[in-house]
């Protein structure tokens, strides 16, 4: 019984990784059999070797650390502004009337199109990356927080009022928990945009970071390092997604849609 359970759990854990593993094996086989030139695509083992090398010299960790710090700083700044403005506009008609139209206009400008302007303003310093990431993260957090608050069941709000909840109580016990599922959707979008923006910004204008590492490798035709950088992006994206899911499961366990099996 418990053995069968362990086996089935093992299968559940292993299934999502079958496809990536198969691709890896096929890839290695293709390169080893010289179907594919290793100038175009390095073998997985070469990538592992490149990773090992970059890790040994410390170059990988420095760049990874720099990029992570930038990503988190930009996320913290843009995310908190977006969250605060989303709350304000969700709760106050006046605040929404004042700011929402402007926000919607700016939202339709692709934030990466600002890169030339940002380089003019900040050069290639840290501010440029922080600004772009913060701007990119702002919109999904803002829009989903606002939507979450707007879609809180008015019947529950009325119930809270009838039972004598103060405005602060109403916010803490009814409005915020009701908006949370939508806020999490915004969070996941924002995390994706955070990495995207950062990598683009680092690729175009930086003197450190993962994007810079990949660009540097391109100049020296180090295809394995380029592929290494791309795989690290994939891993970071997956990591961010896993963390958000875990957070969702613990915060939204009341919701049958999020309950773990």
């Amino acid at each position: 019984m418990s053995r069968a359970l362990t086996l089935s759990r093992l299968r559940d854990t292993a299934t999502p990784w079958l496809l990536p593993a198969a691709i890896l094996v096929g890839w290695q086989a293709a390169v080893s059999a010289v179907f594919v030139s290793n100038r175009v695509m390095p073998a997985p083992l070469d990538v592992v070797r490149a990773g090992w090398e970059a890790g040994r010299t410390g170059e990988l960790w420095t760049n990874l650390g720099v990029s992570t710090l930038r990503a988190l700083a930009g996320f913290a700044v843009g995310g908190s502004i977006g969250f605060a403005l989303g709350l304000a506009n969700g709760l106050s008609r006046l605040s929404e009337a004042l700011t929402d139209t402007s926000v919607q206009m700016v939202r339709n400008v692709p934030h990466l199109s600002l890169i030339p302007l940002v380089i003019l303003w900040f050069g290639i310093g840290e501010e440029a990356k922080l600004f772009l990431v913060a701007l990119g993260v702002f919109f999904p957090i803002y829009a989903n927080t606002l939507h979450g608050i707007r879609s809180v069941d008015p019947a529950l709000v009325e119930m809270g009022r009838v039972y004598g909840m103060s405005r602060a109580d109403l916010f803490r016990r009814v409005v915020l928990p009701g908006a949370l599922p939508s806020i999490f959707v915004g969070l996941r979008y924002a995390l994706g945009i955070m990495w995207l923006t950062l990598i683009v910004a680092e690729t175009i204008s930086a003197s450190s970071g993962l994007g810079y590492m990949a660009m540097q490798a391109r100049e020296f035709m180090l295809v394995d390092v380029v592929v290494l950088a791309i795989l690290i992006y994939a891993a970071l994206g997956k990591l961010a997604d896993t963390l958000t899911r875990a957070l969702e499961r613990s915060c939204l366990s009341w919701n049958p849609a999020y309950r773990s099996a």
Partner: protein, 282 residues
């Protein structure tokens, strides 16, 4: 019965400080005998966007009575209830809900409403949902104790830690009833609270409401579509029509009432005749 469960003796007092807080709240939960509130409605008018729903209605509900309002959809019965509860502002006229004896405003028992839907917070446990009924009353641990007692009264003590999503429709409505009753209200308004339940669950809930009303002595005001429900529960039935009271009937059948009693059936027939007879010819 709920009162007994809520009295200070029934509550555990783990240390003296809590014991003291409990005794204060115990007084709140048990106002002087006959804590029911009286309701006086004078020349009430209510209209929405120029459409008149209630036109010049006068009504007096004595403390501790059980009144049912029946009428066809759109006759204004829910609006009247919401206006009495202060959820709607009268267009004209006055609504007074007051304690019969001049008590200090703090001692007046609260008014509570049970809606058509349970309106439970899906992100709060069943126990915490009941404790919403004690917002602003007592300490946290005391609220939990009283909520647990109220849950036991509606027969859901074992569901305290669950999420509302795991309960059946009838159980959710019982949680909503416990939430409405946990503070020991002086007026309980019931806005078709059983409309969405199946027939058997309904009858169980009616018995539960009647039993608690008899033991607690609050003023009950029930709005319903279901004439047999009104006849089974109320000691006075108002039939609303055209924004006013068309029929005001006393139900003098002793309790507990047996379902299908000829006296009740006769009364039900009379009300239905009135409701159907006034239907405009199609």
């Amino acid at each position: 019965m709920l009162l007994d469960a809520l009295s200070r003796d029934a509550l555990p007092a783990p240390h003296p400080l809590v014991g003291e807080a409990t005794s204060r709240a115990g007084q709140h939960a048990r106002p002087p005998a006959g804590r029911g509130l009286s309701v006086t409605v004078q020349d009430l008018h209510k209209s929405f966007d120029g459409h008149t729903v209630i036109a010049g209605l006068d009504l007096y509900l004595p403390p501790g009575g059980f009144t049912a309002i029946v009428g066809r959809s759109g006759c204004g019965k829910s609006t009247l209830l919401r206006t009495i509860l202060g959820l709607e502002r009268p267009t004209a006229g006055r609504v007074n809900v007051e304690a019969p004896t001049a008590a200090s405003p703090r001692a007046v028992a609260p008014r509570r409403i049970m809606f058509q839907e349970p309106r439970l917070l899906p992100w709060a446990s069943v126990l915490d949902n009941v404790a919403v009924g004690l917002t602003g009353i007592g300490t946290r641990s005391e609220r939990r104790d009283r909520a647990a007692a109220a849950l036991a009264e509606v027969g859901l003590a074992d569901k305290a830690g669950q999420w509302p999503a795991t309960l059946s429709g009838g159980q959710r409505q019982r949680v909503a009833l416990a939430r409405a009753l946990v503070s020991g209200p002086g007026l309980l308004a019931l806005d078709e609270p059983l409309g969405a339940l199946d027939a058997l669950t309904r009858i169980g809930m009616q018995d539960l409401i009647e039993r608690i009303w008899r033991s607690q002595g609050f003023t009950a005001l029930l709005v319903t579509h279901d004439v047999s429900e009104a006849v089974a529960l109320a000691d006075r039935i108002l039939v609303m029509e055209g924004g006013g009271v068309a029929l005001d009937l006393r139900v003098d059948v002793p309790r507990p009432r047996r379902r299908g009693e000829p006296e009740l059936a006769r009364l039900e027939g009379r009300i239905l005749d009135h409701l159907l007879g006034t239907q405009p010819a199609a």
